[in-house]
């Protein structure tokens, strides 16, 4: 087991270096320049553009730019082109903003998908099952941003309350309880919107897993023993049906960065996804590269974690 983990970490580190270098080259291959050296600014002379280009190392060969990036990242002095602020603290602050949205959406997905899916499997073919199947397909098919716009229009039109951003403006002098509840309210709509597709997809998985387990011999045996139906479903079947989902925890990690770009953009949520999106638009190479590296680390760590988790929960699997 420990051997497996150490060897895997080693392999993943090498992969990480390759990924970051390839990504670096691709980003520089893409057309476009950082907006600071946009030649369409009528106030900029070629001399000034040349100075800025030199300061950003834009005219050095790509591998040198990569080396500069690694060096600055290592010393913690990597700065955004856009506002000259250190990249790592910037990313950390955005991460803290993204975290509650991500956590709440995840909690909503996992708490709602299971009861919906299990109940669907239990009354297979009934009205409830067929309507949830229909609803989940509908929710999977409708794009999240579209649903979000509808939700915003509805909430604003009917209730006249703010739904955008992390809190209502001008609330700084209100009481603490009001401020806290205001923050909770602002979390509700974006996290529900981000969770909807997840609930739909996951409940489908849960349903089919449950169906598969419910048709196993040992479930029939349990029923034949004369156990109560609830005991059969929730004790004997559910535990085994859960196994594949444990591994999904690991795969959640990279979602932290890319999972909610669209929702952060629509709800003006100052999170990581929006940071990355805006960095790409303004060709802010240091920010794009660092986010990309973090995403790669999270993905690799996530797959490793799910491998390990699998071995932990399923005694049949051994890691070598």
């Amino acid at each position: 087991m420990w051997n497996f983990i150490i060897r895997n970490i080693g392999q993943r580190l090498i992969l990480l270096i390759i990924v970051s270098f390839v990504a670096h080259s691709f980003i520089h291959l893409a057309p476009g320049e950082p907006s600071e050296v946009d030649p369409m600014n009528p106030r900029m002379k070629p001399e000034d553009v040349a100075k800025i280009r030199a300061a950003f190392h834009l005219d050095d060969p790509v591998y040198m730019q990569y080396a500069y990036w690694i060096r600055d990242l290592g010393t913690g002095e990597l700065k955004s082109f856009k506002d000259s602020q250190p990249v790592l603290p910037k990313i950390w602050n955005r991460f803290l903003n993204s975290l509650p949205l991500f956590l709440l959406a995840t909690v909503l997905v996992w708490t709602w998908a299971f009861p919906t899916g299990i109940y669907g499997a239990v009354c297979r073919g009934g009205v409830y099952d067929r309507s949830t199947v229909f609803l989940s397909y509908a929710l999977i098919s409708v794009p999240g941003f579209f649903l979000s716009f509808l939700a915003i229009l509805w909430v604003v039109g009917w209730f006249g309350v703010p739904v955008i951003g992390m809190k209502t403006f001008g609330m700084d002098h209100a009481e603490t309880a009001y401020k806290a509840m205001d923050r909770v309210w602002h979390l509700v709509i974006p996290s529900v919107m981000a969770a909807i597709a997840g609930i739909a997809v996951l409940s489908r998985y849960v349903r089919s897993q449950m169906l598969e387990v419910l048709s196993q011999d040992y479930v029939r045996t349990a029923r034949a023993k004369g156990l109560q139906e609830d005991t059969v479903v929730y004790r004997h079947a559910l535990g085994n049906a859960l196994l594949p989902f444990v591994t999904m925890f690991g795969l959640l990690l990279p979602e932290l960065i890319g999972g909610s770009v669209i929702f952060e953009q629509i709800f003006a949520w100052p999170g990581l996804g929006r940071l990355g999106y805006e960095a790409i638009l303004s060709r802010d190479f240091p920010v794009i590269m660092t986010l990309n590296l973090i995403a790669a680390i999270l993905t690799l760590a996530g797959t490793l974690l799910s491998d390990i988790l699998y071995a932990v929960v399923d005694p049949r699997i051994r890691l070598h």
Partner: protein, 712 residues
Amino acid sequence: MIIKRLLLFIPLVLVCLLLQSYFWVPTYENQASGNPSRLVTYIEASSGDAKFLNPILSADSSSANIVSQVFEGLLDLDENLSLRGRLATDWQISEQAYLLVNPYHRFPDGTEVTGTTLFHRIQKAWLTGTDESLKKNVQSLELLSATQRKETVSLLLSNTEGQPQLKDIPVTVKVPVRVAFTLSQVDQDLFERLKPILGEQYFEHFPFDELIQFPKDISQETEQALREKFPTILPIGEHNPTIVFHLRKNVNFHDGHELDAGDVKFTYEAIMDPKNLSPRTPDFEPIKKVEIVDPYTLKIVYKRLYSPAITAWTMGILPEHLLNDAALDREKQKRNLSQEAQEVFGMRDSQLTRRPIGSGRFQFVAWKGDQYIHLKRFDDYWEGPTQYQDYYMRIIPELFTQEVEFRTGSIDFYAALPHQVDRYKNDSTYQWFSSLGFAYNYIGYNNRKPLFAEADIRKALGMAINIEEIIQYLVYGEGESITGPYPKNTEWYDTSIQPLPYDPQGAQAIFQKHGWKMNEDGWLEKNGKIFEFNLITNNGNPIRKNLLTIAQNAWKKIGIKVNTQIFEWAVFLGDFVNTGDFDAVVLGWSMGIDPDLYQIWHSSQAGPQQLNFVGYQSQRADELIVRIRQEYNRAQQRQLTHELHRLIHEDQPYTFLYAPLSTRVLDKKIVLVNKGADGKEDYQKIYPIKSGDVTFHFHKWRKLKSTPVFTH
């Protein structure tokens, strides 16, 4: 079964917990109840975040917006777009001029040119008044002896890979004997007036080689480029316009430090410091020196005639005591940076670009990246405090989101799109504005291509497009037709010029006159070739995309085959516009307030990477453009710009489409408060000034509890 119950219970409790928070949130109707400070808080929306809150570094509109509240310039533009004193109470513009002795030349009567002969002849003309304006304008004359100076010349050369690169060459300049003039007014024709005395060719042959010495080890190309610069390094006749500013006394920065002439000089030096990479250097580069006469008086001497330079002083003034070398040294010591970071540490890295301290109406409180910037009013402001106590600029990239926030009372003001304004027009809860700004949209023809070489043909192309219809249907009436390169709300625009008529038949007649005949397929044809070209624009701009299709369709009707294509901005610029490798483009300009059109229309600016990418060439236009930027008299300037406007209109290098109106909406409870002499208050409806700016009277705005009714 406990698991079953938990599975049902947990999601339901979670949802109930979340939804009850709704009852704690303020609604649109009750935004101030229980939260009275909302009435003295102003919140506006911006699509993008600021970058640098420093007037010399900021280049984007969000930063500029905040900077204009926190910092203040010597001047600004008043309601009629004339300059008005802010930190400066008044200013005078005069001129110093210098004329070098040209030893290669002889006077018209054959006498040798020496310092004394030159001086005496000019002095005689001045005193006897042979030239009326010379007598009136010249205040004193002086003969200066020869000197020597050393300077560094920056040349832009291409390196071995063809990339532009800066090269600094040290030169020694032997300045010969010269005559100095002090003029009460700037006179760009001073040396023209002296030609009867000096002779017509006085400015033509000059011994630059003997007077300018440079290192011998430079390459041939470098020497060539340097030689081209000789006339600017040592001009034979030199104009030095001079501005004297008198500063307002007892103006304080937000930290209580008094603002004086030293801060102005420091701001200038900071802009010119190459380490700061200021995007504003072009505006201040014409300055020769900034002299502090006393703590409240400054003298600015310019290297050459460049009248737009004065508008540059609307830029905010930095606090020297917080940003000079000593202050930056203290900051980098405190922040524990690495050796290398310390070496390159400059104003860009200073925390003061994130937490600015200026002397404007509002002082900085906080900046949360991509969320908001918070300012509060500066109570010691010299003109008195504003009505509002807090100012927020919220960053909301989505226009839809802006509208949603506006309708829930979370923002007071935003720039709505035309189709949104259409909705607000029918809603009595809000007030809306639409007014002319400085922008316009156009179709630019590559004047270098034989297809578009004739002004007549370009005119015919313009006549085929129905601009009124575009304004009505594409921008919901939020646009005005234009006829030339100046913003319609400035005095530089000649309103007497008539726009091109919409006349497809007339256009066809012009094509026929030039030998283009309709062929069997319905295309215009000449010498076996049909009239066909590519019309391109950038992606991400729905209005331009629609313009592309409208133009294509309009031209198809008169037999012109147009292929349209949309490119990503970087590709569009890099592969087509900058290289001049295109037929026609749909684009827009956002102009400034000054009448200088050098970069967009002068024929010298038609190279790769330059802004006259359509390759417009007209000798008369070049002359006018140069005269306009050298003219300091506003009335004269207006006359010249009107001539230039007419000329460009006749040449039609662009089809000038329309100037979009900027459209904004505002909470109707916000009014303009006028205080009478007796202290009585009077509410007035907010209105846009000539520049289209609604916020000009912002310091007098107030949000009332309920919507007011105006009596006048």
